[in-house]
Symmetry: C2
C-alpha cells in the first residue's frame, strides 16, 4: 500500500504550512495580520448573490459540460473590451482557473513533456505539473531587475524537443510584474518559430497600475492557433469561493480535446455559473475603485520599504503581490520567529516564503511575497510589524542574517 | 502542434453523441423521450436553495481546500445511519464524485498501474483512467446472470503486480445491480489477501429496491485501511448541478495525499457546500417517496419487457438504470434509426448504447441502458415507442437483427 509517486512528489503549499502554529497562538489571544494569501478583501459585487437568490430551478440539473451559454456569451462580450476577440465555440468554462490549468497541462503534454514559465511562478503550477507528470522548466528572473524576462537566447536555450508550451502569468503572481509589449512579442515570436503553445494566464488582467499597458498574445492574429488563454473570476470580482474559470482558444483541436475533459467531470456548479454571468455584465468602471485601492496599497508598501538599505523591493505594476528580498538567509525561519517569538502589543504578521514559488526550494530563500489584501490601516500596521520584527530578528539571530547586512 | 496521447485516447461519451441529430429533429417538431442520461427528474429538496438564498458573506472567499467543516460534520452524521462510521479527519469534499474519482486514481496509481472493476461500468471511469494513464481492467459480468460477479478464481486471475485497487460501484451504474454481502466479502477478502485498495463508489447507496441489503466495505473493520468510499450528492438529492462529492477513508496516507490534490485546486464551490449541508440534515424518510417512485418505474419497464422472447432484461434492484439486451446486432444503429427514421404520432425515444460501458466497444453492442428518470406516463409512452420501434426495425432492417430473432 503506497501512494503514487506523482502525488508523493507534490508538496503542501507553504500557504497552509504555518496555520497550525498561527491558530494555536491566535487561540492564546495573539493577533496576526495576514499578508500570505491572495484572497482579496474587496467585497464581491452584490449582483452575484442577487442573481443566485433568484435561481428557481425545480431540479438543479447538470449544466452543459462546456458551460452555460449565457455565461460564455457575457464573458466573450467582456473580453472584447480588452481586445480579446473570440467566438462562442472558442470558450469553455471550468471549475476555477486551477481546473483550466489542469486541463491545459493534460491536453498539451504527455508524461515527461515540458512547459516553460518565468520563475518564480504561482506555486500551484508546480503541483499541477507533478499531478500530470509534466516537467516545469523555469526562465530565471530576478528581484534586482524587477523580474523582467532575460534575453531571447537564454529563453531559447531552454527549449527542447519535449517542450510543448511557454506559460506566462500576466500580470504575474507572485512578482506583480506586468510583462511589456516587447516581452510578450519575444515569447510570441519564439512560440511561432518553435511551434509551441503560448499559454497566457490572465486572471489578474484588470489589476495594472501606473497606466502600464496590458498585452496579450490574443492581440496577435499570427499566433491565434497557438494561443490559449486561462482566466478566472476569482480575483477580478473577489469571488474566489465561486469556482468559475475559462479556457479560451481559436485552436479547434485543443477545444475538442478539452471538451472531452469537461465531459469527464460532467459539469461546473450551476448556481456559480448563474451568479458569474451577472458579474461580467458589470461595467469595467467597476474596477476603477479597486484598482485605485490596490495601487494605493502598493504605494504604501513601497514607501515603507524604499529607504531600507537591507531590502530589495522594486515597485511592481500589477496584481496585488509584492516580492521582497530580505537581508535574512532563510525567510522561512524569520516567519517562524514572527509567529512564535515576536509580538508588539500582542500583534504580529505573516506572509509567504518565496522559495515555494521556485522549482528548487533552495532558491528564493531570502525572498517573501506580500499579498496586499488588507485595508490601508491594517496594511500599514502589518508593515510596521514586519520591519520592527526584522530589526529585532537581526539583533537576536545574526546567524540567519547575510554577512553584508549584519549590524 | 498535437494533442497529448492521453487525451487523444479519450472518447466522447455516447451520452452526447446523438444530440446534434436529436436537436435538429426537435427543431423540426419531433418529440423525444430521454432515457439516456442519469439526470433525475425528482425535485431537488427546497432546503438547498433556501439555504443558498440566506448566504450573506460580503466576500465570497475560498473555502478550506478540504471542504467546509459543517458540511463534513453533517455528512458524517448521515453516513452513520448506513453503518459508515468515520471521523472528521477522514473525509474530504470534492467537486462532485468525478473529482473524487480523479483524485483517487491519481493518488493510488502511477502511470501504467491498474484498477480492476466489474464490466460494464460507468463510462466516465474509462475517461478518468485515460486522463490519468491508469489501465482499467474489467471483471466480466453478463445480462444473463444479472451482472453478478464471477467466481473468485476468475477475479483473482486479473490481479497483477500492477494492480492497485478493485473499484465496485454499488448499486451499479449502468446495470442497476446491487452487490450481495457474499460478493462484497469476496472482493474484500481478495483486497486484504493481495493488499489492494477497495474503492467503493456509493453514489446510488440509497436507491435499493425489494428490501435488498446495502453492504459496504466500510462495514468491515479488518479492511478499514484499504477502504476508500467515493460519494456524491448528485443522484441522492437530485442535485447534479451542485458539484459536491466526497472521499472518505481511514487511511491517513491517502487522506494526506488527497489533501495535496485538494490544495492544488484550492477549493470547492462555497455556495454549493452551504446548500449541500442542509440536504444532509434531511431525515432519511425523505428518500422513501423517491425510492418508491423509482421502484415503481423499474417495475413498469419490467412489465413491458418480461414477455418478450427477443429481449433479456432481468429485474435490477438498485440505482435507476435498466440494462437491456436487444435482438439487434448493433444497438447504435437501432438508436440512429429511432432518431432519424421512426416516429409514432411525431414522437420517438433515445437511450444509451451499452458498448460505451465496456472497455472494448465491440462488447455490449447489443445492449442498451435505460435511465428511468421520467414520470410514469412518459416512461410508459417511451417504452411503447421503444417496442414499436424495435418491431418496425426488425422488419425494415433484418441485416442488423441476430439470426435467431429474425422474423
Amino acid at each position: 500500500m503506497q501512494i503514487s509517486e506523482r502525488v508523493n512528489k507534490m508538496s503542501e503549499p507553504a500557504l497552509y504550512k504555518y496555520y497550525p502554529e498561527v491558530h494555536k497562538r491566535e487561540a492564546e489571544g495573539k493577533k496576526f495580520y495576514y499578508l500570505n494569501i491572495g484572497q482579496p478583501d474587496i467585497e464581491t459585487p452584490k449582483e452575484f448573490m442577487d442573481k443566485v437568490r433568484e435561481v428557481r430551478q425545480k431540479v438543479l440539473a447538470y449544466s452543459d459540460p462546456e458551460g452555460q451559454t449565457e455565461l460564455r456569451r457575457e464573458a466573450l462580450k467582456y473580453y472584447k473590451q480588452f481586445g480579446l476577440h473570440y467566438n462562442e465555440d472558442e470558450i469553455l468554462i471550468t471549475s476555477g482557473g486551477s481546473e483550466a490549468l489542469l486541463f491545459v497541462f493534460l491536453t498539451l503534454c504527455n508524461p515527461g513533456d515540458q512547459i516553460i514559465t518565468p520563475e518564480p511562478f504561482y506555486s500551484v503550477y508546480k503541483e499541477i505539473a507533478k499531478a500530470t507528470s509534466v516537467d516545469l522548466v523555469g526562465i530565471p528572473t530576478k528581484a534586482e531587475t524587477q523580474f523582467s524576462l532575460p534575453e531571447l537566447a537564454e529563453i531559447e536555450s531552454l527549449v527542447t524537443d519535449k517542450t510543448r508550451a511557454i506559460l506566462i502569468t500576466n500580470p504575474n503572481n507572485p512578482t506583480g510584474k506586468v510583462f511589456t509589449k516587447e516581452e510578450i512579442e519575444l515569447v510570441k515570436d519564439l512560440c511561432i518559430k518553435d511551434n509551441l503553445f503560448f499559454i497566457a494566464d490572465e486572471v489578474y488582467r484588470e489589476f495594472i497600475y501606473d497606466g502600464s499597458e496590458f498585452v496579450s498574445p490574443a492581440h496577435y492574429p499570427e499566433i491565434g492557433e497557438n494561443t490559449i488563454i486561462v482566466d478566472s473570476i476569482s480575483k477580478r470580482y473577489s469571488a474566489c469561493g465561486a469556482r468559475i474559470g475559462f479556457i479560451i482558444t481559436k485552436n479547434k483541436q485543443v477545444i475538442n480535446a478539452i471538451k472531452k475533459l469537461c465531459q469527464m467531470r460532467l459539469a461546473v456548479s450551476s448556481v456559480d455559473q448563474q451568479g458569474a454571468t451577472e458579474l461580467f455584465k458589470l461595467d469595467t468602471s467597476f474596477f476603477d475603485k479597486s484598482i485605485k485601492e490596490y495601487e494605493h496599497r502598493r504605494d504604501l508598501i513601497y514607501e515603507k520599504l524604499k529607504d531600507r538599505d537591507d531590502i530589495i523591493a522594486k515597485k511592481p505594476t500589477g496584481a496585488f503581490y509584492y516580492m521582497v528580498k530580505l537581508p535574512v538567509i532563510e525567510a522561512d525561519k524569520f516567519i517562524e520567529y514572527l509567529i512564535k517569538d515576536f509580538e508588539n502589543n500582542g500583534e504580529s504578521v505573516i506572509f509567504t516564503p518565496a522559495n515555494d514559488f521556485y522549482l528548487d526550494p533552495e532558491n528564493g530563500k531570502d525572498e517573501v511575497r506580500l499579498a496586499y489584501v488588507l485595508n490601508e490601516d491594517d496594511l500599514s500596521r502589518a508593515m510596521e510589524l514586519l520591519l520592527e520584527g526584522l530589526d529585532k530578528y537581526k539583533k537576536e539571530h545574526p546567524e540567519n542574517i547575510k554577512e553584508e547586512y549584519k549590524n
